[in-house]
Symmetry: C2
Subunit: 268 residues, 2 copies
Amino acid sequence: MHCLNACQSVRAESHNRIYPPGALRHVPDIALGRCPCNESDCMLSEVLTASASHRKHSLIQEKTYRPKEVLFRQGMPATHLLILRSGYAKLSMGLPDGQVQGLRISLPGQVLGIEALSDQRYPYTVEALTEITVCRIGYNDMVRLLEQNPTVSLKVITGLNQTLRDTWETICSLRTRTATGRVADFLLMLTPATTTPGQKLPLPLSRTAIAEMLGITLETVCRILSRLIRDKIIEAPPSGGYFRVLDRSRLAALAGKKAAASRLSVNG
Amino acid sequence: MHCLNACQSVRAESHNRIYPPGALRHVPDIALGRCPCNESDCMLSEVLTASASHRKHSLIQEKTYRPKEVLFRQGMPATHLLILRSGYAKLSMGLPDGQVQGLRISLPGQVLGIEALSDQRYPYTVEALTEITVCRIGYNDMVRLLEQNPTVSLKVITGLNQTLRDTWETICSLRTRTATGRVADFLLMLTPATTTPGQKLPLPLSRTAIAEMLGITLETVCRILSRLIRDKIIEAPPSGGYFRVLDRSRLAALAGKKAAASRLSVNG
DNA sequence: CGTCCCGTTGACGGCGCTCAAAACAGGTGG
DNA sequence: CCACCTGTTTTGAGCGCCGTCAACGGGACG
């Protein structure tokens, strides 16, 4: 039910430019026991290089998804662990009362589904926002690798720690930022440092989806975006699927501005 | 600067009763290569049983802290990893602008400092709320154990996953609950299921500390507690260091009541 | 052309933050 | 014992942000 009809234009445009350097050089051929992504920071690549001698065929497959496609759904038995290689994905949780809570936008290089190692069920739903490519490894294979290869475990632990830190940052953001600050911060997150002013950037989320991610209402998102546009800080046509940052410094100022000094700082 | 002078009375009272069963049977003697806690769910215990043959002396020490003592401080180089055996500890982060954000109250059985495995610095500050006992293992020893013993790695990963899930729940709570709901939920978290109505429960936090934990202001905490007391739902004298739940069902109703249906549920 | 969905804008109200003041407890020195 | 000071807690008044309700415009589609 999400409005992601903007994705065509996103793909037709230059959405590749916004990915971190290196994230997009995906190697199409799947070597024996090698992760196809061939990235130095890819933990699977490292794992399988080490244990390839035991294997006849690669444990890892590359797979692509189209926009709006669901990689896996919350509550489903965990079958695979994924690493996002290119594109955007949206992580969300459904609450018992039917509400949907966005967790975060996943960027290339991040691991999806590792949290299912504990109870063998995915704790959240992952949905493709753009066209995306992932590396996939079977859940059971991954457990075996973890048991056999402590180096991977350390990498996984490091990755989880990073996720945890990001999540704490989200919490701090929720507590200290106003709705305007959250929107500004969200737009900046989608704006890589190497962006020229006014450059067209993909925004493959509907207003409703943005609202879910930021924990505010649809109307508030609209009002804030309208004000940002009126103030010539950004440009973002409705359902255009993209946006431009016209005045990055003012946007950053809004994102940095905390809400409600909250008087807790007195005992710092 | 925290007001934790209430802790004397807490210790003098019966604060032991609120701990989960089993958490308090700490074995005072430190066997060679055994975790003194001797708990079946203690990952260190299991680790060292497995690798004890290599060791001449125990890697694990028991240590106690007094209320208000700091176990470690955010930004400090990571030297030890701790497991809380008894008592309450408060995890908090300092923000760049001087504000303090409470992360969570740590209960017995939880691991403290595992997140430092990545960048070798503690990402948060841990402060004892009550008198507490912990199991301690050196950071370098822990890394070595992780490298040698995949079973521990899996346990650590499982633990991190649990922490992550709890953190997500915190996020959902922040987005969906009103201030009253947060306070009610907080009090229920400190109320074990095996509690008789009106039983005295330790509340080793000042109003300011509660406000930090819940991301609301001191005054709001006061107003909400006053109303709960006026409505005969709880009892909580100022700086008494304890509270009583008089009407658990009404408290649970307040905690469960979500704020602002937020209209996002329409697309669930 | 009607329907549906998304996006936009306005009006209104409530929750909670801010500012302010006062009650209360604990400690210290006279 | 009392005065005094410091820090915590409580309560009140005001108001700004944001959620709610409502109406409207526009594009997609049958």
